[in-house]
Subunit: 111 residues, 2 copies
DNA sequence: CGGGATCCCTACAGATACTG
DNA sequence: CAGTATCTGTAGGGATCCCG
């Protein structure tokens, strides 16, 4: 869901959280939170089970949502660096809290 | 993704957060956090754009994940009440923090 | 009232091949 | 190196009908 919810255009869950509630966004954001700047290939290596296509899609969406900054350098071979925007960085403490909760309640939820 | 991730069986994002990263779980949890106990129909009315099937599915999954408790009474007509488990309640502050973040950064993310 | 079962369509996601 | 483009299978999700 990339469009604004027609029925609840100001609902934060539907319009903001829905955008990072997919399979890979939190994982990518989390990695970028740990590493300041990362190249495309570094992200691929950090997340071995993500496919080429999904990493590209996820990064594109996160960039559209102004959570990730993309800097491309006109070199040969090309170099592209990804980093969190200020908004993206401001989400990291909340992600950390969610991960803490997930870790604490892992057994209870998954069993 | 209801199964344990074979590659990262202990990753909290993949195995716990993935379960509530769908279209409706956070909204249902949020409503149950506000109301203590809710009947099926109350939830339907609180979330007018959820379909019958998805509310049923979402509640079933949340119950399997021990986040929601389901109490059915053998009356006619039947009465079923849903509430948060202790684990479910412990997630509410984190959801609140995420919603606060989403509200604060709404313009930046959605624009 | 609170579901379950079914049909059906679309978006997501993997695999593969190609390009500046 | 860091992407696009295409094909294809699968799962998510809506609409409808049925049931204890």
């Amino acid at each position: 869901m990339r469009e604004v919810d027609l029925r609840y255009p100001t609902c934060p869950i539907r319009n903001v959280l829905a955008r990072i509630s997919d399979k890979w966004s939190l994982i990518v954001l989390w990695n970028l939170g740990l590493n300041e700047k990362m190249r495309y290939k570094e992200l691929m290596l950090s997340i071995p089970d993500i496919s080429h296509k999904m990493l590209t899609n996820t990064l594109k969406h996160l960039e559209e949502d102004h959570l990730v900054k993309r800097e491309a350098y006109a070199e040969i071979p090309p170099r592209v660096e990804y980093s969190l925007t200020k908004t993206g960085k401001s989400l990291i403490p909340t992600i950390e809290q969610m991960i803490d909760w997930a870790q604490t309640n892992f057994e209870e939820v998954v069993k």
